[in-house]
Symmetry: C2
Subunit: 162 residues, 2 copies
């Protein structure tokens, strides 16, 4: 499984630099945290996270500012960035990954199934969002989000330490 | 996959009674939330949850009272119950499931790999813990925790509505 081997490399890369990570998940419902913690030794690098599946929990548990949700909705770059920043803070992690989007089969808030935003927040205070559009069923969309989240953080770690 | 078909029945049972659920996970790292949200239509019943993998996050993000953690540690009936009660409150759900234990391969805090505590908290304010001892590798222990968590809540829903 490609996501799992990426998770192994991600855990090793974080551990090598004594860095930690937290996760804020919506459409993936816990799959990103599950992929990281499938790796033996994950406890050295994985702090924990939130699953803010219901939109109102993105504001409360996820610490996404209300004005961001009102202006952009749950499926947006700004929301993904705020989710990552929020969980990095609440879990006191060095890095954070977030995922929000539409797993399908139905559209949500005017967004088509397969539209996913990933957020990445890092130790220097920076944060950014990446959009994925993945055709396929619910499982395929969620798996793509997990895979891109893990490889996206791995790429950022590699860039930051080079 | 047995856990997935149990998840389908769980989502249907919650939806039939217009009830919601939240999850607080430690050793499963998000797998219980992932199993529930794999079901199309989960958004009607699944609120969200916390992944309190690091012990200190059980106290902060998970709202487990410090004295419970000090007296019993992270792998205990009392902690599982407090995790379920905490996430039921923070996610404003009718029901909550929690899982804490040792996935292995190494023992943790004097507990052997395979010792898992599941917590269940319900709308009437009641809460209880169930212990599982599962021989096997990390994946097997985590899969057993997910399966027992889903079927345990399903059984409680059936009992409550009969």
């Amino acid at each position: 499984m490609p996501p799992e081997s990426t998770a192994v490399r991600l855990v090793a890369a974080l551990a090598a630099d004594e860095l930690t990570v937290a996760t804020a998940e919506s459409l993936t419902g816990g799959l990103i945290g599950a992929a990281i913690t499938a790796v033996s030794g994950a406890s050295a690098v994985y702090r924990g996270g939130v699953i803010t599946y219901a939109t109102d929990l993105k504001a409360t548990l996820g610490a996404v500012p209300d004005d961001v949700l009102v202006a952009h909705g749950p499926v947006a770059a700004e929301t993904a960035v705020a989710m990552a920043r929020g969980v990095r803070e609440s879990c006191r992690a060095d890095w954070a990954i977030s995922a929000t989007g539409v797993a399908g089969p139905d559209p949500q808030d005017g967004h088509a199934p397969g539209e996913v935003w990933l957020g990445f927040a890092g130790p220097d205070g920076s944060a950014e969002a990446v959009r994925i559009d993945r055709l396929g069923d619910r499982d395929a969309v969620r798996a793509a989000a997990v895979s891109e989240a893990l490889s996206g953080l791995l790429a950022r770690l590699t860039a930051a330490s080079s």
